[in-house]
């Protein structure tokens, strides 16, 4: 089985991990002004496109 020849340096490890970034989620407003993910039911009022989808 192939194994690494050298230990990965602290610098290389940290450089690689520096690219692990969190992305801000895309946000939109529902028709009653709650913040929601776009194209998704509003989890606060349970509505999508002014249609009641779930009872909350």
């Amino acid at each position: 089985m192939a194994v690494p020849k050298r230990r990965t340096s602290r610098s290389n490890t940290r450089s690689r991990r520096a690219q692990w970034k969190a992305k801000a989620p895309a946000l939109a407003k529902c028709s009653r002004g709650h913040t929601i993910r776009p194209h998704t039911m509003c989890p606060t009022c349970g509505r999508y496109n002014d249609r009641q989808v779930l009872d909350v």
């Binding site: 993910r37 998704t40 039911m41 989890p43």
Partner: protein, 195 residues
């Protein structure tokens, strides 16, 4: 016809996917709408809609085709007596998928798939008119005849009428053709409040 699915089956094997989709479709017709993962909802949609198409056909052969999938006799009965006739004048698109966001626990994207309502009288009338006209949007015509005259009279009082009058002026040589047709629209223009 829906495109055949490529890639991995739901649940791992073809047999598992067949059973899973059959159970999902049965639950959908039984309750009118179910909450499931988005991937399952997307896979279920063409599958369930084909069953509704069979239900619309309504003969014994179609019923036997459906019974191969939906093994609950009372669900097949409601499908053929209630759901099928409800969509008699709807050319496909019997289900709606609404995304609900990630599930707590494994963050799987959830969705609700439901049977849509029957077409209202207004929707049927609009689709009939569009079919008769052969297009979804009528071509814009310059106002002629009575419309042009009315707009000319009122152009000092209403900005809408002024705009119509200007348009009529540009097309003046070919006017007078559809005077009778425009009588109804003229009344609408006259009663329009100033904006």
């Amino acid at each position: 016809m829906p495109t055949p699915t490529k890639g991995a089956r739901l649940g791992g094997s073809p047999a598992h996917e067949r059973l899973l989709l059959a159970n999902l479709a049965t639950a959908l017709f039984e309750h009118g709408g179910i909450t499931t993962t988005e991937a399952k909802a997307r896979r279920l949609r063409p599958y369930a809609e084909r069953l509704v198409t069979h239900a619309k056909r309504g003969d014994l052969h179609a019923r036997r085709r459906v019974m191969r999938v939906v093994r609950n006799n009372s669900v097949v009965h409601t499908l053929f007596t209630e759901i099928g006739p409800r969509y008699a004048d709807r050319p496909g698109g019997y289900t709606r998928i609404v995304k609900l966001g990630p599930r707590r626990g494994d963050a799987a994207p959830m969705a609700r798939i439901e049977l849509v309502e029957a077409l209202t009288v207004a929707q049927t009338a609009v689709s009939e008119a569009e079919r008769a006209r052969g297009t979804r949007f009528a071509a814009r015509k310059a106002p002629t005849g009575a419309t042009a005259e009315a707009a000319d009279d009122l152009k000092n009082e209403s900005p809408t009428a002024a705009a119509v009058a200007a348009e009529a002026q540009a097309e003046q040589p070919t006017a007078e053709a559809g005077a009778a047709d425009d009588a109804a629209t003229t009344e609408a223009k006259d009663t329009k409040p100033e904006s």
